[in-house]
Amino acid sequence: MPIKFPFSRRVAPSDTWTKCPACEAQVFNRQLERSQRVCPSCGHHFRMSVGERIDLLLDPGSFQERDAGLESVDPLGFHDDRPYPHRLEASRIKTGLRDALVWGVGTIAGHRVAIGIFDFRFMGGSMGSVVGEKLARCFEAALVERIPAIVVSASGGARMQEGTLSLMQLAKTTAPLVRLDDAGIPFIAVLTDPTTGGVLASFASLGDVIVAEPKALIGFAGARVASDTVGEEMPAGFQSAEFLLEHGFVDAVVPRAELRATLARLLRLLPVAPADEEADTDRRGPLATLSGLAERLGGAVGETIGIDTEADLNGNGVGRTPAPAAERRVPS
């Protein structure tokens, strides 16, 4: 084993430069790494890996990954020109990730957040059962711990190889947002290049605040699908972050250098609402996760957060009897 002098340069990767797709400048990889993967000559934002995104946004050393062990299975036995498990394995080897999303808890300028981050390199950041499950758990953790939720998306959409189970992840990731609304917990969506299809048609469009990176491709249908269907060329800049800003679907287009500071400001300006002691006035009834927690911790928590643990133990799966006003709604 060769002995390395402590000052020796890092071993350069085999291709030491990358060509910028926007201005065609040759950018040294080391320089790209130092400039947060933004082209120094034209400002083009290259895609980032999950790891780089964590280092960019979160306080150093604060991120703790959760549910790292979730793994995709092959529910349909899907086979196109090669089996789905082979594609998964290839993506795992390429990225070192288990699936296209990593979620965990960390701090941004001292604000504790539950954050989910996509990695586009893992099967195009596509959302299958694992991504959906992790996002749902991310939102539910935000609910239980009463901390803001953030999702940084980079995804082609739902994962075709899991069929309608992927489609159902749209609903699965959206349902917890209703509970965040009721509990007064903010959700910030960060849209990066590219955010399309089923990911945009679910939680990513539903942020209380939506910020996007400059020139990111953001749209419902791919431009190719759109021009195939409509039979005409799409206008230039169609489906860019700036297009969405102009049409009122994002709040701000934020350059990467300012992203962390912008999130920190938003977290300060949009705090979690004070916990409602009278949780039973919640018109949607109790939160299953909270009542689950109450069950585990016994009556003590139940009293402080206003959940009737007795009712839950009676086995109806619901922590509180519905308010009479809600009962009125039930048609006979």
């Binding site: 993967r37 895609r47 793994e71 020109d81 950041g125 489609l167």
Partner: protein, 327 residues
């Protein structure tokens, strides 16, 4: 789970493709045809109160055996002219926003909601993008997950991706025998995954889009048998079968209180998907820090990070190949 072995067989392709052709059959009864058969009265309401009226989605209050309910459905045409009017059943954002308006009204008055799915998908054109197609679908889904009234979903023909799910989140999902439900059209899947539009039958089989397969996956709860050779041969018979299934589903749901209804709906959505919980730690292991890094950290040498970074575990690859796409 379903049996899984290699590429779909020819027989499987034929079966899936046959079902798809029936689901797309030009004479297949559409939402309005069935609504007039199933319900005693129906008043169609128009417009999203913001932009316009989308003929690809129809809806309004109706009477089901004397009980008022709210009905929403995709509407395909029956001939060329009506298909152009209905945009072949592919809604624009204003269609979904009209649906949302009707859902809120149902919620306000406590009317059970019954939706009929029959669309190849939401329209992907530039006008739809400009008016927020993705936002319209997302907010419809969100609204449905929290509605305080029972929701029964009926898949009539094609359940096409997000455009179908936007009015397809329910407590019970019924599907006609020859209907299909998929995350992307087989033609779309074929052109993305097989890089040719000719492999649509293989894609249809691989995606397991028939009603029976969806029942096995848990996406659909009940499959409604169709009369004769298919729904297009007997509209009245189909309506009778659909009506019976809706009434049975509503009877079961009526026993649930609002809180239980919402908790059960949440649990149903939450349970969708298949994955393995390994409990393994994250990603690939970081190599033990080199002598240079260990010394550098102590001596604070330039270029040596003070602590290990996540980008050391998950760095960007050098090659940005983006062959994989989602839907």
């Amino acid at each position: 789970m379903l049996e899984a072995t290699g590429q779909p067989s020819e027989a499987a392709e034929e079966r899936a493709w046959g079902r798809l052709q029936l689901a797309r059959h030009p004479q297949r009864p559409r939402t309005l045809a069935l609504v007039t058969e199933i319900f005693d009265d129906f008043v169609e309401m128009h417009g999203d109160r913001a932009f316009g009226d989308d003929a690809a989605i129809v809806g309004g209050p109706a009477l089901l055996g004397g009980q008022p309910v709210m009905v929403i459905g995709h509407q395909k045409g029956t001939d060329t002219d009506s298909n152009i009017l209905r945009n072949f059943g592919s809604p624009h954002p204003e269609g979904f926003r009209k649906a949302q308006r009707l859902m809120r009204l149902a919620d306000k008055l406590g009317l059970p909601l019954i939706t009929f799915l029959d669309t190849a998908g939401a329209f992907p054109g530039p006008a739809a993008e400009e008016r927020g197609q993705a936002e319209a679908i997302a907010s419809s889904i969100k609204l449905m997950t929290g509605l305080q009234v029972p929701i029964v979903v009926v898949v009539l023909g094609e359940g096409g991706s997000g455009g179908a799910l936007a009015i397809g989140v329910g407590d019970v999902v019924l599907a006609l025998e020859n209907s299909v439900y998929s995350v992307i059209s087989p033609e779309g899947a074929s052109s993305i995954l097989w890089r040719s539009r000719d492999e649509a039958p293989a894609a249809a089989a691989a995606m397991r889009m028939t009603a029976d397969d969806q029942l096995a996956l848990g996406v659909v709860d009940v499959v409604i048998p169709e009369p004769g050779e298919g729904a297009h041969t007997d509209v009245t018979g189909t309506a009778v079968a659909v009506k019976a299934a809706i009434v049975a589903a509503l009877r079961d749901l009526a026993e649930r209180g609002t809180a239980e209804l919402l908790a059960t709906r949440y649990a149903r959505l939450r349970s969708m998907g298949a994955y393995l919980e390994t409990g393994a730690p994250s990603g690939r292991r970081v190599e033990a820090p080199s002598l240079r890094r260990r010394l550098g950290r102590i001596l604070r040498l330039p270029g040596v990070p003070r602590r290990s970074r996540w980008s050391d575990i998950w760095p960007s690859g050098t090659a940005d190949d983006e062959a994989e796409r989602g839907a």
